[in-house]
């Protein structure tokens, strides 16, 4: 009887130690990074079973709010925090780039395959409402031999606050002074024209049901859903197809500031796709909890190195090696 009792007590102790050693990391934010982060969690947990993750994909804005109020251990965002947002946080927040992605400009033009060539002026003109017909001379001039209809362009954009919109409007602001002055960049802006769709699904749905429409979606979404998309003229004047490789090239020529709040739209690299962006994980430099702090830093180190191989298969562009080195140094500065 005593043996049984001893066994039960020992089991209870082992169980309690097992629970005591388990660390739950809470995160929230970007929907764009959700598939990648879920994959990372699964793989990382296999070799680190004592680390549990819970990530709520509530959008970049929600991620910034949650990390600012310290209701999660890390946030994730597709648009960097503004200086105003950072000065409202109860501590210094580090931006850690985790993945890069591209925004594809998709269209529904029956009979027109992917690869319609669009220049920055054309794209800004369409979204400003100044180019309204598909057979506008500016478009036909870039696409000789393509049978463009004499129909109205149906402009589609996101209706919800999204990092994809941030990247897209960041690009338009960088190539069009008129767009920058009238609309600007942000996760949610006052669109001059167009129909709003919620999420990539909403935009895609509007594109599919509206012949003559044009919209923007994440590259991974466009590839998975076989959407026809445009080749965009980059800063060097080359028309570039959105691919993982051309997205990675966008970071090659980018100026990386010390706080990592960089933009890779309109990259000077001649092979870069011009509408590319980054998703950052947001963490405090001074972590409140030693165990969680160490676990988060260890996880990020793994995700930006070994983890990048996993996400490449999911249409995310891997981080350049030079950037990974800088990230490692930044992680060394995190206190916990």
């Amino acid at each position: 009887m005593k043996k049984i009792l001893g066994l039960v007590v020992a089991m209870a102790m082992v169980t309690s130690f097992a629970f005591a050693d388990s660390t739950l990391i809470n995160g929230a934010g970007s929907t764009f990074i959700y598939p990648a982060i879920t994959k990372w969690f699964d793989e990382y947990s296999k070799t680190n079973p004592d680390i549990q993750f819970n990530y709520q994909s509530i959008g970049s804005g929600g991620g910034i709010k949650q990390i600012s109020s310290k209701t999660v251990d890390f946030g994730a965002t597709d648009g960097p925090m503004t200086m105003d947002q950072m000065t409202q946080a109860p501590g210094r927040i580090y931006h850690i780039p985790m993945v890069m992605g591209a925004v594809a400009v998709a269209y529904n033009l029956p009979g027109v395959e992917k690869g319609l060539k669009l220049t920055p002026d054309i794209l800004a003109g369409i979204y400003l409402g100044k180019i309204t017909q598909w057979n506008d001379p500016l478009i036909t001039g870039q696409n000789p031999g393509v049978n463009l209809p004499a129909s109205t362009i149906v402009v589609v954009h996101r209706s919800d606050g999204s990092g994809t919109s941030f990247i897209f409007t960041d690009y338009l602001s960088s190539v069009s002074s008129e767009w920058k002055g009238k609309v600007g960049k942000g996760t949610s802006v006052n669109w001059p024209i167009g129909l709003g769709g919620k999420g990539n699904e909403g935009v895609s749905g509007l594109l599919k049901q509206s012949p003559g429409s044009i919209g923007y979606v994440e590259l991974a979404y466009a590839l998975e859903n076989n959407l026809t998309y445009a080749f965009l003229q980059n800063k060097s004047g080359n028309f570039i197809e959105p691919t993982i490789d051309s997205t990675s090239k966008a970071a090659d020529g980018a100026q990386i500031p010390p706080d990592f709040r960089f933009s890779i739209v309109n990259s000077p690299n001649p092979d870069a796709y011009p509408i590319a962006g980054t998703t950052w994980i947001l963490i405090y430099k001074q972590m409140d909890n030693h165990v969680k702090g160490k676990a988060i830093v260890d996880f990020i180190r793994w995700a930006v190195t070994d983890g990048q191989k996993l996400t490449a298969a999911m249409d995310y562009a891997p981080l350049p090696a030079s950037l990974v080195d800088l990230i490692q140094k930044r992680l060394d500065q995190v206190k916990y």
Binding site: L24, Q88, R92, G181, G184
Partner: protein, 464 residues
Amino acid sequence: MKKIVLTLTTAMIFAWQGLSFASSSVDALIQKLEDKGILTAQDATQIKGEIASDEQNSQQNTFKSMLPDWLNSLKFSGDFRLRDQIERVRVAGTTSGRLARNRGRFRARLNMEDQVNDKVKVIFGIATNGENSAGAGNPRSNNITFGGNSTSENAFNKPTAVINKAYAVYTPASWATLMGGKMDNPIWEPASLLWDPNITPEGGVFQLQKKVSDLVTPFSTNAYFILADNTPSQATSGFKTDPYMMITQDGIKGNLTEKVYYKAAGSYYGVSNPNHIVLSNRPSASGLSGTNNTNSFDSTKAFYNNSYDLIGGAVELGINDPFGELLPSPLYVPQVGVFGQFFANLDLSSSQQGKAWQMGAYMGSSALNGWGTWKLQTYYKVLERDSWLDVFPDQDFYNGATDTKGFRTELDLGLAKNVWFVLSWYRTNVFKYFDHLNNGATNDAAYSMSAPQDLVQADLNFKF
């Protein structure tokens, strides 16, 4: 395989939910599956979170769909403040007497805002009725003192509430705003110089603001505020004699770099006919403190003698993250800034006391957002006796009188989400001729005094 199990499990749980079992039953089921090893702890947590979120959304959407549109767009907000204050004030008619006391106070405000349509919203707010020796509705305070503020208020007297604001906002374009009613003060000050922060002026306002670039956003505020409706005894020449105020404030703001920001504005205040009626809520001429200034006050009629034409401006310059990584991480300083403000009353000769100015600095978080956020601010200000109507300045700064000078220092500490603590210290004094008529002096030169006052306030604030 795992995905299939997860999907099947989720589907079963949702079906279970569909049978209207309580969420605790669903949790129990998930726990069972976890115990049996079908779900990992992480999967269980994820499913519970998703179910809770879906359930909440479903309930909210059902409830919202039952309400009319205008009710769906109705927003409530408010705040509650508990205060303990220690004050050491001079005794009227003396230069050396001091009276020290401790008071507990509270203030509660509730606001409702409804977006009537795409371009119009209406804001309505009630608040505790600030105590006022001249009657109800002190425009400069919504404080209620524990135990009452007078001999007739004690033994748990029940205070009343007042309409704090009621106004409509029309936005015909993103760069233009029209407001009418009793409103939040639209005039910008880097810190309180001319205006007590509790004042909600009445009248109409036209505002313009358009961002040109990150560097420059011009703005303009133009207000017409009515100070008093003429009393019958004064109404010999109709509405033209009503005291009113016209203000124009024009300025620019923006970022010189990503880290350096600024705001600057020039303002004109024209106050007409203040000598036509008794303006209420002036600082008391008797009691613990007060002001009776020769040039702005006729002791017989208790009217202001002067009209006021103020011209001046304000500048604020700040730096975000000024120290970068230089300081150790626990000493993070998000922002530092300095500001200054100056006004002169053009209706007075240069020898008269018609200037008001302040200089200050601040450091800390740009907003209090939970534990760890903080802000420290201090400024020094001078209000010469005829620089401004003494019914408007900060009531905690030498009882809101003019002919005053002093420091105000404030430390704000975020304690939790929507909860913060504020410690304020006012160290104030007479500027030059304060209250000389009440003290028997026959002219300005014959009477001057030093009568410092200290006021320390500890506030616990709650926002909802």
